[in-house]
Assembly symmetry: C2
Homo-oligomer: 453 residues x 2
């Protein structure tokens, strides 16, 4: 849907909901794709979301379920929470079990149990199985629906078997297994279309399969799909038995989410913080981080406090404090962004860490030298005090060097500690660049005070 027309649809949706004209609401939306309805829904407040969902559910429960599965898990859980258990279990039987497995853990625990009891045995079992795997692993996001046949099957039997099984959501490959259901090959449906009916699958299958294990991290799954240009990747257990498939649409969700998370974690934001959240909800999410920031932000003032004597004697130094600090911060942020992103897209490893550090230090020194020279030069001329310019220039060089050092080390050390490399890295960096910036400026000024005043 175009942005223009979406705007109109959203405002009409709102109007009809608030007027209570459910028939007009249904007529407006019935021909839209589920994805379009869900993106309209994202712009509504909770009460409107519920009304819209109920209207859809009454007229076309299949479509309502599809819309739900297109929503963000948190949004979907927010709606589900308000429905009666029997209705939830109906909906959960329609949508894919990997989607159910992502929504269910967000509901109150007793509700989860009741829903799983109420659901039919097969889908309920599938969901419970997925929930056994750890969060953010291939096992958690995989779909247990896929085409898989024994290697000795011939092509025409394979096609009949697929037809009998019915439509499998976004299936583009047929997986081939041996008698023990171990993954041994893969055939694209395109190859199947072109193959002679009596050929055996083992004679046309590709044996060089790219797969992941149930415990593979979802980011790694996404990288494999992206690197090898796949549209789906098979998931096997520790005995190489085929248990599921992760499709590219789930991979895109992972990539989107991880990119947002990286950015959010860099600036100490909770990754569930949304533009649509109420102010109070966002305050609750951000306040703990800001309180922690109070601690990191208190280090620089402690440094400054040691130098109030020098400042009293030469108050003009205060003017240069923010300049030295913010240039260090800006250069350090650049380094952090590069290192975090390279770790995220899987290019940084320990072998290249030393090289990256050396390179960033060189960049820090180089940029520091240029900026320091310029700023020191300007200061010398403006204030007619060459020694003063020298100190400003040196403080800049030191701080840009330190910015490169800590900008590289913070994400790498966080990764070494098995924490997210982006986690609060900007706060930690600012703490260092502010403190070292002030320390070098005021420290040098104190040392050379006699030549300055």
């Amino acid at each position: 849907m175009k942005v223009q027309s979406q705007r109109i649809v959203i405002s009409s949706t709102r109007k009809f909901i608030n007027m209570g004209s459910m028939t007009r609401l249904w007529n407006l939306l019935k021909n839209f794709h589920a994805a379009d309805i869900s993106s309209v829904m994202e712009h509504l407040v909770t009460r409107e979301k519920l009304t819209l969902f109920n209207t859809l559910h009454e007229r076309d429960s299949q479509k309502a379920a599809e819309v739900l599965s297109e929503l963000d898990e948190e949004d979907a859980a927010g709606i589900i929470r308000e429905l009666p258990i029997s209705q939830i279990s109906d909906i959960f039987q329609i949508i894919a079990s990997d989607d159910v497995a992502s929504i269910l853990p967000l509901l109150p625990e007793e509700m989860q149990e009741k829903i799983l009891e109420e659901m039919e045995e097969e889908p309920s079992g599938e969901v419970q199985e997925l929930l056994h795997y750890e969060e953010e692993t291939a096992g958690r996001i995989m779909s247990p629906d896929f085409y898989a046949l024994n290697q000795s099957t011939n092509v025409s039997d394979a096609i009949t078997a697929m037809q009998l099984e019915g439509d499998v959501e976004s299936a583009f490959y047929m997986y081939v297994v041996d008698d023990g259901f171990h993954l041994v090959g893969v055939i694209s449906l395109r190859q199947l279309l072109f193959a002679r009916p009596n050929t055996k699958l083992q004679d046309i299958m590709t044996r060089d399969i790219i797969n992941v294990r149930t415990d593979t991290d979802q980011e790694q799954v996404a990288r494999s799909v992206a690197d090898y240009n796949l549209v789906a990747i098979p998931v096997v257990d520790e005995e190489n038995i085929l248990v599921g498939v992760v499709t590219v649409d789930d991979v895109i969700d992972v990539i989107d989410k991880e990119a947002t998370e990286d950015m959010y974690k860099m600036v100490s934001l909770d990754s569930s913080d949304r533009i649509q959240d109420s102010p109070l909800k966002s305050i609750k999410k951000r306040l703990p981080f800001l309180l922690l920031s109070l601690l990191t932000a208190s280090v620089a003032p402690l440094v400054v406090k040691q130098f109030t004597g020098t400042i009293e004697k030469l108050v003009i130094l205060v003017v240069f404090m923010p300049l030295v600090a913010s240039l260090g911060g800006i250069a350090g942020n650049q380094t952090i962004a590069i290192i975090v992103r390279e770790i995220a897209i899987g290019q940084a490893d320990w072998m290249s860490a030393r090289k990256a550090l050396f390179k960033e230090l060189m960049v820090g020194l180089g940029n520091g030298a240029v900026i320091g020279l310029i700023l020191g030069g300007i200061t010398s001329v403006l204030f007619q005090r060459p020694f003063f310019g020298l100190i400003i220039g040196m403080a800049i060089i030191i701080n840009l060097f330190v910015a490169a050092l800590v900008g590289t080390l913070i994400p790498l050390i966080l990764k070494l500690l098995r924490l997210d490399p982006a986690l609060g890295s900007v706060n930690l960096l600012t703490m260092c660049t502010d403190s070292i910036g002030f320390l070098s400026l005021l420290g040098l000024a104190t040392l050379f005070l006699s030549k300055l005043s």
Copy 2:
């Protein structure tokens, strides 16, 4: 390839290249997937890259071309630049024309012309056609290779036609056109597999097609593929004539690149800045941004300069300057990250901008009140001067409110100016939060100086 084994492969590759044992190099790499070789290559320096590429090219020019097309455009262009024209045109005839179209513009202009002349007519024409479309549009990234047949064709003829055409890279749909080659429907290969041989395509095709136009922005293309869970999206011209297809692997590249770009632009980094670049290359890329930052970073010192009189009388104020400034910066960064990401994933529009602004202002006030109260309280007690605490607290509240205001407005205004909403937004924000932070702290202190000292 696992990180562990990749490390070994990289160091062996290096060793063999530097020893000049090309046979051992080939034996090491010949069974790897092109994507794996290209990710090994990304860890080498330019000279090693070239040697590796030439070794591959001598033994298996097809594989060498595949490796090239898996590389980053810049890396690929770096290698291509060093090869003779005849070899380049051979390689460009093997790899997909959309990949050629992304590498070619990075080469020297006269080289581009020579290559296009040297290439065979068909691929050369395809590439030139793609290059007519603007950068970062569907036309630029689409592939002109796809299956498309007339709606009156029956299923068995369609399958034969596809077989005759040969393998089309990552084709999962058959597109259906009318006599004027206008796009009228789509059939998944899965549907084709199950259909009766004498059915006409128009009887089984899906008429409700999701497509984009050649001038659609690549980010919008990516959003459509992601929202509707597609693996490929057809591209039409202004007359609805089918001209190409964008596949999901290209979409993933776009999403990765845009996520990196957002993050990089926020901190004023060139999006082509890479961890593997030489220090000098990175200095050249970052220095212009840092010089610009010198300007934005010079605003706050000008503010401070107005208040040196107050500072001289009450030097303890200096200790609180970095605290007020950095808390404002941290809160503002949070707001910017949220707004930039929501714009990127297409959730923010003008209608919701006002709502977002109001919400962020409330959050700024709320968080400001809490942090201001805490910090003001602590200061009052520690320094035994309640008026001083009051001023610190008020400065925090004002600065967090301003941070929310400019953090929301900067990306929205940049978008309104049709610039990238992330572009240098952190620099601009720091400029505002530093200046306003100092202004409120020092300004209030000046007003109430008599009560403070």
